[in-house]
């Protein structure tokens, strides 16, 4: 623990174990991403022979060219990007307004509201009644089915509520005395000083929307309205079936198409996966200091 003391045998053993675990964990966590990356940059037919571990053997952009020339996939990216932006903005705003109000000290009927909140957190009607509801609200096959059902999560409300409760009451009071309306106070004073919790909830919502495939699979049949995670899920389903039937990936691909083609189902899948993962890798490290607090509040105090 303290520098200057002579390191004991125990220190050496523990440090040895600790650093070994740390390095193993880092390799096991990062390597699958790295591997997907190098396969996505390798000639697909060549990659199906195996033996690629550290860097591309026959470098090629063809997989990405194929991904970005697939019109269905481009449309799906459009849907996913739109739903992520619209969905996150709507959901964060709604969640914040609800949480801010529930955090109001003098709120009447508070206990009833909290009871409704808590029961909704621990119990749910499950998939089938939910599906019937979505269908009867005529949300099936609309873009709104990506936005409206995901507007509010009780878990996120609790995280935000806990945060708003810690803000000094005097802020609200002084704004009120200065004649600002409650809504104005919220948007002009509370939102700017609550950046950390907004960042946390926006990240949770954004990642949820970006990764969502189930609603796209079961609530939407229109091909032009499918999300990119759904398209990727279909590619992965195919891989699953290939694994079962045991056809050689490369052979099946080659016989099906013309000889000049250099990509395979696997290399296309890897390239698609990388395009889905990269935006997340670019965003989450910068929000780390915020969500570390957020998850603490939500799980331990909630």
């Amino acid at each position: 623990m303290k520098r200057g003391f002579k390191r004991t045998k125990e220190d050496y053993i523990i440090d040895g174990v600790v650093y070994t675990i740390l390095i193993l964990v880092m390799i096991v966590t990062i390597y699958p991403f790295y591997y997907s990356f190098i396969i996505s940059l390798n000639n697909g037919i060549d990659a199906s022979r195996g033996g690629i571990f550290l860097w591309p053997r026959v470098f090629s952009w063809d997989n990405y060219a194929a991904v970005f020339s697939n019109e269905q996939l481009i449309k799906a990216y459009g849907v996913t990007i739109t739903r992520t932006l619209v969905g996150t903005v709507c959901s964060v705003t709604f969640t914040a307004l609800v949480a801010y109000s529930l955090a109001h000290k003098d709120l009447m009927f508070k206990n009833v509201y909290f009871l409704i909140l808590i029961v909704a957190m621990y119990f749910s009607g499950g998939l089938i009644p939910y599906f019937i509801l979505i269908k009867k609200l005529h949300l099936m096959n609309t873009f709104a089915v990506y936005i409206i059902p995901d507007l509010l999560s009780v878990f996120n409300v609790i995280i935000m509520m806990t945060f708003f409760r810690e803000l000094p009451e005097a802020l609200k009071e002084s704004a009120r005395i200065d004649g600002a309306s409650d809504m104005r106070t919220f948007f002009k004073i509370m939102v700017p000083i609550s950046a950390p919790v907004f960042a946390t909830i926006a990240l949770f919502n954004g990642v949820h929307h970006w990764n969502a495939w189930f609603d796209s699979a079961y609530f939407v049949t229109d091909k032009n309205l499918k999300t990119v995670s759904f398209q990727l899920m279909e590619l992965i389903n195919k891989a699953n079936l290939t694994a079962v039937t045991g056809t050689n990936v490369a052979d099946a691909q080659r016989s099906a198409t013309y000889a000049a083609q250099t990509f395979t189902a696997e290399s296309i899948r890897m390239a698609t996966m990388i395009t889905v993962v990269v935006p997340i890798i670019c965003v989450y490290p910068f929000l780390q200091k915020y969500f570390v607090k957020g998850i603490m509040v939500g799980s331990v105090k909630g």
Partner: protein, 314 residues
């Protein structure tokens, strides 16, 4: 001013907050409570054409669907798979973040510690769809990394069919769950460790305790309340897949005709019966069984944790 007037004055005064709160509550009533009410179709003969009013108007059939499920030829297999997968996850997935948090806490090089932590969160933000894609690439028997390595080291003669076999399915679920969620849940335990009063450690040092002894007798007991809270959360979602809640996505994405005997769980079966075959009442009954067991589990675990240690969620 009489009390009604006072009431309205107070309400007027907080109009903005009431409107926002009621929007949220109204939203929950529609999207959370209407489906809860819809659970009654588990005891009815519901037709989709009758819509939401059909929740109430369709005819009662009592426990017909439940007894049909119990007599379903897949019943025992589905129950076994759900229970075994869930228990395996609690037993093997739950302790890992605690151990990793303790390990990270022993790292003295701040930069390395932060990098390792940041890297360990990454899989949490990636969808199971992508993780499944990686698993297919790593485990397939043509050019999968794992098979190639095992062959290169001479541990096996011919590739193992990890994906097209029932034997490797459960270990694959547990290991991939650990891979994906370990770093995320480490956050909580690491924060709990950081909150330990440093004088406790100093006192232990004065008393001549080594590092291992301090881990066992200072660190672990100090984070016990956090461990219990997280354990209750995990137990409450036992059949959903514990902390990560991953049972459905794993079973759905990694399940295939060959491993069906070990991959079919209540949630995937509900989906098949309900959305694929349109047997809404039957599927709701199957889903309800899981919800009721889950709710009971969270109440029991919360109660016993409170009894045993004074720590509970509610």
């Amino acid at each position: 001013m009489n009390s009604t007037q006072k009431f309205w004055k107070r309400f007027q005064n907080q109009k903005f907050y009431q409107i926002c709160a009621l929007m949220g509550i109204g939203y929950l009533l529609v999207f959370a409570y209407v489906p809860m009410v819809g659970l009654i179709i588990a005891f009815k003969n519901f037709k989709l054409s009758s819509g939401i009013p059909g929740f109430f108007t369709s005819e009662w059939v009592g426990f017909k669907w439940f007894s049909e499920f119990v007599h379903d030829i897949n019943f025992w297999q589905i129950i076994r798979n759900t229970v075994v997968i869930s228990l395996l996850k609690i037993v093997f997935t739950f302790p890992i973040p605690i151990l990793f948090a303790i390990t990270l806490n022993e790292v003295r090089k701040e930069g390395l510690k932060r990098f390792a932590q940041t890297a360990s969160y990454l899989p949490h933000f990636i969808s199971w769809v992508v993780v499944s894609g990686m698993l297919f690439s790593f485990l397939n028997s043509q050019n999968g990394v794992i098979n190639q390595l095992l062959m290169n080291f001479g541990l096996i003669d011919k590739p193992l069919s990890f994906l097209a076999s029932a034997d490797y399915f459960w270990p694959m679920l547990v290991l991939s769950d650990i891979w994906k969620e370990m770093g995320w849940w480490t956050i909580i335990f690491l924060a709990a460790i950081a909150g330990i009063d440093p004088t406790l450690h100093e006192a232990a040092v004065v008393d001549g305790a080594g590092r291992m002894q301090r881990i066992l007798y200072v660190t672990l007991p100090s984070i016990k309340p956090t461990i219990i809270v997280v354990l209750i959360l995990a137990l409450g979602n036992l059949f959903g897949g514990g902390l990560g809640g991953s049972n459905f996505e794993q079973a759905y994405l990694l399940g295939n005709p060959v491993n069906n005997s070990v991959s079919e769980i209540i949630q995937t079966y509900t989906l098949k019966m309900g959305l694929a075959q349109g047997r809404y009442s039957y599927a709701t009954a199957i889903g309800l069984i899981q919800s009721v067991i889950s709710l009971t589990l969270i109440l029991i675990s919360n109660y016993s944790a409170k009894k045993a240690s004074g720590v509970g969620l509610f």
